[in-house]
């Protein structure tokens, strides 16, 4: 593992957390964010990206909720890595989420590290990054903060809200918390609650971070270290859960990396090892270790039914929102059975719901990849909803 990561300039990273390459909105002490943990958080900064144009009726906004390790840079080059946006397959001119028709907004979540307040942001009281002094946040807190952003932008209701994985959790929370503000909801590869298996995976990731001596009890910024190895291991473990046995076999099989024979050492002999190490290294360049702890925790705490006496359907009772729930056959992290539970609840609540399971061997990450069937469904669903909303046709 000695080869993981070049030394990072910590100032660079805190700069992206405090003064990001995105527009920001700041809410002062007069407008605190009321957190589920019982804290009024202020000041709050929200960084976001927008694409396309808001129409005069302010009725064509599409809110995109990013996943655990995503950010607001949906279809522009990433300011830290220089890589293309994470959802260029789905969003853009002429794409299923068509930026020539819709005004796309993607905020960085609360607890993130790309410009919205999170543990890497500077605590104004100390002048140092918050670290573990940052309050514990939940998916509902993320959604509350997004609602504050929409209020600020003067958008009373969004045409659609969508996202995959943790993004899908936010979509469901949006529909539950603000049913009148969501015309159409498209949760992809999501769940109404984080499963025991997923909490278990997250705990392994967090322990990997915390076991890194450079983590320093979360005070690594102050002490001039960075728990790169721990975070890289967390990412490597998590990344396996985003794929599938079949996809790994198809991509790598048992092939060797740049060699014909095993080296009889612990080098990355196999392509799959080399790939995972690469995933770990590139992740730590752009992500904050404490953010990873906070966001995984927020997902673990997500249980929509818990807020409604254990009955998920009550979360959607009387919701005017139209839903399209999508899952993938090879997703074992958020398997189809979880999406079916969402559909079951929506049906019981009498909501207008579509549900499609897409055949793919690409696992949980399929929502980020080139899946023509996914695109056809998202496009068809949004077209139908746009018609119902009275938005002009293509």
């Amino acid at each position: 593992m000695a080869d993981i990561g070049a030394t990072l300039d910590l100032a660079d990273r805190t700069r992206e957390a405090d003064a990001p390459h995105s527009p920001v909105v700041r809410f002062g002490f007069d407008k605190p964010l009321r957190l589920d943990a019982g804290v009024d958080f202020a000041p709050l900064q929200i960084a976001y990206q927008t694409y396309g144009t808001l129409n005069a009726a302010r009725s064509n906004a599409v809110l995109i909720c990013h996943a655990l390790t995503g950010d607001q840079h949906v279809v522009n080059d990433h300011p830290v890595t220089g890589k293309p946006g994470w959802w260029e397959t789905m969003v853009g001119a002429g794409k299923p989420i068509d930026t020539e028709r819709y005004f796309v907004i993607c905020p960085n979540v609360v607890g993130g590290c790309m410009g919205t307040s999170g543990p890497a942001s500077t605590n104004p009281a100390t002048g140092m990054p918050w670290g573990l002094d940052f309050p514990i946040i939940t998916v509902r807190d993320m959604v509350r903060a997004q609602a504050m952003l929409l209020d600020h932008l003067g958008i009373e209701s969004v045409f659609a809200v969508t996202g995959g994985s943790m993004g899908a959790m936010q979509v469901l929370q949006w529909a539950a918390s603000y049913p009148r503000r969501v015309f159409a909801a498209l949760p992809i590869a999501g769940s109404t609650r984080h499963s025991a298996q997923n909490i278990a995976f997250h705990e392994v990731g967090r322990q990997a971070v915390m076991a890194d001596p450079d983590w320093r009890g979360g005070r690594y910024f102050a002490e001039g270290t960075n728990p790169r190895r721990g975070l890289a291991v967390a990412r490597m473990g998590a990344h396996i859960t985003y794929l599938s046995d079949a996809a790994l076999h198809r991509k790598f099989g048992r092939r060797f990396q740049d060699r014909d024979n095993p080296t009889f050492s612990f080098d990355a002999d196999f392509q799959v090892e080399s790939y995972l190490r690469h995933q770990g290294i590139t992740f730590v360049e752009r992500f904050d270790a404490n953010s990873y702890l906070y966001l995984t925790r927020a997902m673990d705490y997500f249980d929509l039914a818990a807020d409604y006496d254990g009955v998920v359907a009550e979360a959607f009772r009387g919701a005017p929102t139209r839903f399209c729930v999508i899952s993938f056959t090879s997703d074992w992290l958020f398997p189809t059975v979880e999406s079916r539970a969402i559909v079951h609840a929506l049906n019981a609540a009498g909501a207008r719901v579509s549900f499609a399971e897409i055949t793919t061997d690409k696992g949980h990450d399929a929502f980020l990849l080139d899946e023509p069937e996914l695109f056809a469904i998202v496009r068809g669903f949004l077209d139908g909803a746009a018609k119902a909303r009275g938005l002009p046709g293509r």
Binding site: R322, C324, V325, V343, H344, N347, A348, G350, R352, V353, S354, F355, A356, E357, I358, T359, E373, A376, I377, R379, G380, F381, D383, G384, A385, K387
Partner: protein, 219 residues
């Protein structure tokens, strides 16, 4: 392009009206009141749902085949992937004005249970099915000595999705047994036209190639 699904092929050769819609679907659609909430169980590629939505009906669908579901959702229809035999019990009572089984009942494992769920979920039920009492089917069994195959029912016995055939007479018995009230019945002859009313049941059972029943709960 997504493949057409198997169940829909059951009726792929069915007669079409001048507008292009299948006659049996038009008969079903004519039984539904404007503005109603409708659940189409086994909605195939969504042809009936589209027809209903064009008439101002709030339609939802359930479809077993993944290809069919995805095709429907891509058309903007509200359809979920599911199985009539297992998933209807998840729906609450009185959730819909009409529940429709269009060419679906004969493909279910437990038609009686499905029919009962249908009249629990919906205030009305509409069932259309191929009539196994039709004279051509009787002749094929009687003289041919083999399981019948027709334009509407093109499958061999070993690969058909249709596992519970019935005649019009049989279906009426099921309605009696499960407490369904027959509000209206239409039989279609071999060329897809509606048969004249006022015919006796035995005549329909012999010459009707398909039947469409509007049902309600017996109060």
């Amino acid at each position: 392009m997504l493949s057409r699904l198997k169940y829909d092929l059951t009726m792929a050769e069915a007669a079409r009206a001048p507008g292009g819609s299948r006659v049996d679907l038009l008969v079903v659609a004519d039984m539904v009141q404007r503005g109603a909430r409708v659940l189409d169980v086994g909605c195939g590629d969504g042809e009936l749902l589209r027809l209903l939505e064009s008439r101002g009906v709030d339609g939802r669908g359930i479809e077993l085949s993944r290809e069919g579901v995805n095709e429907c959702v891509a058309k903007g229809l509200a359809v979920v992937q599911g199985d009539a035999d297992t998933d209807l019990e998840d729906y609450p009572d009185d959730a819909f004005d009409y529940v429709i089984l269009s060419q679906t009942l004969q493909a279910t494992r437990r038609p009686r249970v499905v029919l009962e769920h249908m009249l629990r979920i919906g205030r009305h039920g509409i069932v259309s099915f191929p009539n196994f009492g039709h004279w051509r089917i009787r002749l094929q069994i009687f003289f041919g000595g083999h399981m019948p195959r027709t334009d509407n029912l093109p499958y061999a016995w070993y690969d058909t999705p249709n596992i519970h055939f019935c005649s019009i007479k049989d279906f009426r018995e099921l309605c009696h047994a499960s407490g369904a009230k027959m509000e209206q019945a239409v039989a279609l002859h071999a060329w897809g036209g509606r048969m004249r009313l006022k015919m006796p049941w035995w005549f329909w059972n012999l010459f009707g190639e398909q039947a469409v029943f509007l049902l309600s709960r017996r109060s």
